[in-house]
Symmetry: C2
Subunit: 195 residues, 2 copies
């Protein structure tokens, strides 16, 4: 190698992702990005090909981060549902001051793109499916450990979880309703355990 790449690719993707997550793809300009990640157009385009390329990497990274976060909460919990509960509380309540948006970046993506923006639309669907698979495996384990009944299949639990979490994250994407969140999250997990 003749000259080392100066920027740290992972970190750049993460910072860009924060901007994209907050403002959305269309409302984020390449000049916003240049400033946020401290790179000039030529470097960005040689590294990522396009604004869309950088967004793609950011959205993939977001999904991985979210799964990593769940893994970390599971590691520190006695059972799967407690881990998921801690994750949800963290996502909705504890990160309130330090996140770009309460709403999941995947959900924002799925909301922003139509099948006209086909690449990004397809990507958002594929990553959502991947995340649902990930959750399904967790609920398979929860059923196997008798944490929840087998009235529903694992994938049905996963869907219920996703629907409810997405709804809550959307609902709490506004100021001044903090104290409601805790009880609505508790209600969510009471429901899951009684489905």
């Amino acid at each position: 190698m003749v000259n080392k790449i100066k920027f740290e690719r992972e970190n750049v993707i993460r910072v860009a992702g924060q901007l994209f997550w907050e403002k959305g793809f269309h409302a984020t300009s390449t000049r916003d990005l240049q400033e946020a990640i401290n790179m000039r157009p030529g470097s960005i385009y040689s590294a990522f090909g396009s604004k869309e390329g950088l967004y793609t990497e950011s959205l993939k990274d977001y999904t991985i981060q979210m799964e990593d976060q769940i893994e970390s909460f599971l590691y520190n919990s006695d059972c799967i549902l407690d881990g998921l509960h801690a994750f949800v509380v963290n996502t909705i309540i504890e990160t309130k001051e330090c996140r770009p948006s309460a709403i999941c970046m995947l959900v924002k993506a799925n909301s922003e793109f139509t099948d006209k923006d086909s690449n990004l639309y397809d990507l958002s669907l594929a990553l959502a499916a991947k995340f649902e698979n990930y959750l399904t495996v967790l609920f398979e384990q929860a059923i196997a450990h008798n944490e929840i009944s087998n009235t529903l299949t694992a994938i049905e639990y996963a869907r219920f979880f996703q629907v409810h979490l997405t709804g809550l994250r959307g609902y709490f994407n506004r100021p001044g309703v903090e104290q409601l969140a805790q009880q609505m999250i508790n209600q969510m997990f009471i429901l899951i355990k009684n489905l």
Copy 2:
């Protein structure tokens, strides 16, 4: 009056709203709008002041339409929960081929705007609060008619309804999962009746 306005204001707002609902505010250009509503820039700007002005009217109109639609389902149902059930089925399943998006335009707005776009951000919050009040009145009636228990207050039912519906509309904003929708909607209303 010296010269009548040629366009029909309500219809223009509705058509513009369909475009905004599908593509979002930032991804809809004024030239897209010109073509969709068949008006030239000067007319649009004299009638609505700006792209933001037209969007504002469209989002207000969307909220009214949604409430009108619920009213119509309530009128044709024997009780409030059956009316809401019919509304949800219609929203998620029956209008599949003829709507700009499965996702509520209010939710899309709340997802798209940050407090930097302050006017539209505030508007989306205000309309969401208005809609929650509307739902709360309905659930007050449902409690009074003993359709549901008074374990929760009316506003808590309204919140649960909104969270669940938003989650479902997001979940079914993709192709090929039609037959799941019916059973998840049924589950939603079973839960409401047993809260």
